[in-house]
Each structure stands twice: as C-alpha cells, then as structure tokens.
C-alpha cells in the first residue's frame, strides 16, 4: 500500500515535469534544426540533423551582441545602485532615531500595495521633463527608484535582528556609524543582500514594459525588446528566433543555478537525507 502510494506520487510528479519541460524541449529542438521557414513538424524535429548554426547566426546577426551588452550594462548598474541605496536606507530605518520615522516607513509600505502600472505614464512624463527618454540613465533611474522601497523593507528586517552589542567593538576602536555599517551590518547580512541581488538581476534582465516605453531608438534597446524585433524581422526563421530566445534565457538560469544553494540550504528537509 505504502509502496503504491510512493510510486503514484512519483508518477504525478513526472507527469507534471513533462508539462513543464515539454515547451522547452520543443524550443531547443527547433533552435537546433535549420531551414525552419514555417514551424517545423514533429517529424522534422526528430529526424533532422542537429546543429548549433542558429545560435552562431543569432549571436552574430541583428546587433544581438549590442542588445545583450545593453541588457547586461543596465542590469548591473541597476543592481549596484539599488543594492547600495537600499542597504543605506534599511540601515537608516533600522538604527537611526528621527522624528516621523515610522510614519515615513508606513507611507513607503503603502506604495508597495499600489499597482505599478499606475506609475508608468507619469514616470514617462517625468523622464520627458528631465530629457531622459531613450537614455540608459532614465531607464536605470526608473528601475532603481521603483525597486527601492521593497528592498529596503526586506533588508530592514535583517538589520534589526543583528545584535547591537556587536557594534561595541567598533565604537571602542573609535569607529563611527559608517564603519559600523560597513564592518558589521553589510557582512552579516550578505545572504539577504545576495538574495536581493538575484531578484534584482532577474527582474531587471527580463523587464519589458518600462523598457518598451522608455527606449525608443533601436541601438538603445535591451534584450527583451530586441527579441520582439528579431521575430518581426525573421518571422519565418523560427530556429533563429528560438536560438536568440535561449541565449537570452541563459544568464538568468545561470545566475539562479549558481546561487540557488543559498535558497536551498536553509530549507533542505530531513526527509531527503534519512531515506
């Protein structure tokens, strides 16, 4: 009885995985076959010779490398600024007394519950007033600005759990607030900051709506927008389009695979070990 149930559970999980994986398999197979002027038939997918020609071609064509670098630059800049600023803000809220602190924090939290789309039109008009439409500065500013509250909220909780006694050694050595921040709070919350970094990377790398709205000229586009361009221009070359898509997916999946240990370790259940 118990054995049957175990097999049944595994069977269900396998069926679920099939649904998850099948679309990706289709995408990879299509990308590996050439001459796909229409969507390839399953027969063609299975029997055709597999080649990486599409990947090489996609990488070299249509300014793909430029868009890839654009995305990388925007993402890294956004990550750097938003992590620095939100760590500073979280420290301010966690360890500085000042009048109106809790009220201000509550107003911040309120903004988290207001849907982001409300802001996109005014954000566009603000960038227009600052003459920052179609610039990387403008795009990064919106990304950083709109993500700060959430990250601050997240980090404040971690900072507040760090015991104040740890600050004493720095104070005895004559260190100031900034030294405490740099030598105690940052190193002790590295896992939290790392988690934020991953979220920030994924969110920015894939961001579509704001980039679509703000970036007008072709050369400034980021990857998610450029893919759309790719499809238009090569509507009939499905292999090429999928190859480009897969290249675009690789960085986020890589980042996740490298850092997923961090998420996993905390909640690795005993069940998997005791068997």
């Amino acid at each position: 009885m118990r054995k049957i149930r175990t097999i049944l559970i595994h069977l269900l999980l396998v069926i679920g995985v099939a649904f998850v994986v099948a679309p990706f398999v289709y995408m990879v197979l299509t990308a590996l076959t050439t001459d796909n002027f229409s969507l390839p038939s399953p027969h063609k997918l299975m029997t055709d010779t597999k080649t990486f020609a599409n990947f090489a071609q996609a990488w070299g064509k249509n300014h793909f490398q430029l868009y890839f670098l654009n995305s990388l630059m925007v993402t890294l800049l956004t990550m750097a600024f938003s992590l620095t600023l939100s760590a500073c803000m979280a420290y301010a809220f966690a360890r500085f007394p000042f009048p109106g602190k809790e009220l201000l924090f509550r107003v911040f939290i309120f903004t988290l519950f207001v849907p982001a789309i409300i802001n996109i039109i005014p954000q566009f008009t603000i960038l227009k007033a600052l003459h920052l439409v179609d610039t990387y500065q403008g795009l990064v500013l919106i990304y950083v600005g709109s993500g700060l509250v959430g990250s601050t909220f997240f980090l404040r909780g971690f900072f507040e759990r760090i015991p104040r006694e740890l600050e004493e050694s720095i104070v005895i050595d004559g260190g100031g607030r900034f030294t405490i921040f740099r030598k105690i709070y940052i190193p002790m919350s590295l896992p939290a900051i790392g988690t934020l970094a991953i979220f920030s990377f994924q969110g920015t790398w894939d961001e579509f709506v704001v980039a679509l709205t703000v970036m007008k000229s072709e050369a400034h586009r980021t990857l998610p927008i450029a893919l759309q361009l790719f499809r238009g221009q090569y509507a009939t070359y499905y292999g090429l389009f999928f190859a480009a898509s897969i290249i675009a997916l690789v960085p986020t999946i890589l980042v996740f695979l490298i850092f997923q240990k961090q998420f996993v370790q905390a909640n690795l259940s005993d069940g998997s070990l005791k068997n």
């Binding site: 969507l39 038939s41 500073c88 903004t111 005014p122 601050t152 069940g271």
Partner: protein, 298 residues
C-alpha cells in the same frame, strides 16, 4: 527641535538619495497619475492640456471595450489564481511527502518557468498554439491523441485565445507558489502530524486542520500577489494575441497601454489606471489588513 535637526543631519547621508528617488519615481508619479486623469493630457505640450473634469472617468464606464477588458481581466484572475494556488500547493505537498526522493531536483525543475523571461515564454506558447497543422499542440491533440478531429485556430477565437493566455499564466506561476509552500511546510513541526496520525486523522483532514491554518499568513501573502499579478497581467496578452482578435482578448492593462502609447490619450489611460488601482486595492485590502495581524504560533 535642535535635537530633531541633529538627528535628521545624522541620518540623511543614508536616507537622502534613496528617499529622493522614491519620491520622484514612485510617490510623485502616483499623485501625478491621478492628476493627469482629470485632463485631456497633451504629451507634447503638457502646459496646453485642457481640464477634463470627470469626463475621462465617465468614458471609462461607457467604453464597451473597457467592458471586454474588465471581463477578461476578472476571468484571468478567477482562472489563474485558484489554478496556480491549487497546483502549486499540491506539488509542494507531493514533494514534501516523506518517501519522495530527489526533492531538490523536483523543486529546481518546477521552478525553471518562474525564472524564465516572460517575453520568451509568451512567444514560445504563441508558437506552440499556432494555427492549423503547424502548431505542435494541434499535432499532439489531433494526430497523436486523436482527441480532436480538426486542428483548432487557437489564437483566432476569443475564448481559445483567452485560454492560451490563462495556460501560460498558470504554467509560469505554479513553481513560485510551490517554492513558498515548500519552505513553509518545513517549518510546521512534525510532532503535530504525528499526534494527528495517532488520533487516526486522514492525511486530507490533517491538511485542512493542521497545515493550512498554520500557513495562513503565507496563503494571504500568496493570494495578494497572485491577484495583483493577474489583474496587472500584461506581457502574456501583449505578446500572444496583441489583444486580438478584434480587441476581444484585451486586458485592462494592455488596453490602457494601447490608449496611452498608441493613441497618446494619456488622460483617458490614466483614468483607467486609477480605476485599476482602486480595483486591485479593493480586492486585496482585507487581506492586506490581516497580514500584519497574523503571526504563525505553534
């Protein structure tokens, strides 16, 4: 007074820049969005915008396409929120089961759609559900499983096109729900289940009476996010159907985007987004209140 000033002086190096950015790119836009919604806003020369009073909002309630978009957005929420929640929870429970091996691997595979880019996934599904014999979904259903006699033109009909949008949304969101519940389930003390087992409780009863009440705060959090995500859905409709056929698969979000950035009617689009904000707020308000109150206690 002097003390307050001194405190502000001390904290400002840490707070000022981030605070300024939040004001400029979050708080001010919120206020400005509401402001714009009362104008026939002129993007090129904002100072020449004419006051519109409530006419933008009146238009919202009379525009038949808003009716369609509203219907689609609500349906998307009604289908995908329970869909993602149930499947995600079931997956978490299955993976959590004592006898299941390779827990980390299952978790990883089910999470891959979550980390995949929305735009890539949307296009992928658009091609999977391509019309006629070309589409692989048609091939599987007609030639392989013989469930249907003729291929369906998925994206040419209102309801099948909407269904494709729902399917992508559920497919991509399930792993997120699963991961959160997996983490939460591990924090539920095993002793509670053992006690229930001794009392002769069936696993399903244990789920209803022990697990779900204990993870209630998480469930609220998940619900708020799923509802929020469903009402704000954009890319899947934008990339898969462009709102077509004949604007019958527009969502509130894609429709307001079209009004703003295709017709440049920023005033009207802002009015729609204000209504949308009120809608989301109303749908999630009660849950938001209780999120602060609830704490897990064993």
């Amino acid at each position: 007074m002097r003390k307050a000033l001194k405190q502000y002086a001390q904290v400002s190096p840490y707070l000022a820049v981030g605070f300024a950015l939040t004001i400029v790119f979050v708080m001010y836009p919120m206020v400005k969005g509401m402001y714009i919604s009362f104008f026939h806003y002129n993007v090129i020369k904002p100072e020449t915008s004419e006051a519109a009073g409530l006419s933008n909002f009146r238009h919202v309630f009379r525009d038949p396409l808003i009716g369609t978009a509203f219907r689609n957005s609500i349906l998307l929420a009604l289908v995908t929120v329970p869909g993602q929640w149930v499947i995600g929870l079931v997956l978490a429970l299955l993976i959590q089961a004592k006898t299941v091996r390779l827990k980390v691997l299952w978790r990883l595979v089910y999470y891959v759609p979550v980390i995949s880019s929305w735009i890539v996934v949307s296009y992928l599904f658009r091609f999977l559900f391509a019309d006629g014999d070309e589409g692989i979904v048609n091939y599987v259903l007609v030639d392989l499983l013989h469930v249907m006699r003729d291929p369906v033109n998925w994206l040419q009909n209102t309801w099948t096109a909407n269904a494709v949008i729902w399917i992508v949304s559920v497919w991509k969101g399930v792993g997120w729900v699963m991961v959160l519940y997996l983490a939460a389930l591990q924090s539920v003390p095993k002793s509670l289940y053992e006690a229930a087992e001794i009392d002769g409780a069936k696993p399903f009863a244990a789920l209803l009476n022990i697990t779900l009440p204990l993870v209630r705060p998480l469930t609220l959090y998940v619900m708020i996010n799923l509802i929020n995500g469903a009402i704000q859905a954009f890319i899947q409709a934008y990339a898969i159907t462009q709102g077509g056929p004949m604007d019958t698969t527009q969502l509130l979000n894609t429709y307001l985007y079209k009004q703003a950035f295709q017709y440049f009617d920023f005033g009207y689009a802002s009015a729609i987004s204000v209504c949308l904000g009120v809608l989301i707020f109303a749908l999630t308000y009660t849950q938001q209140r209780s999120i602060g109150r609830d704490r897990i206690e064993y």
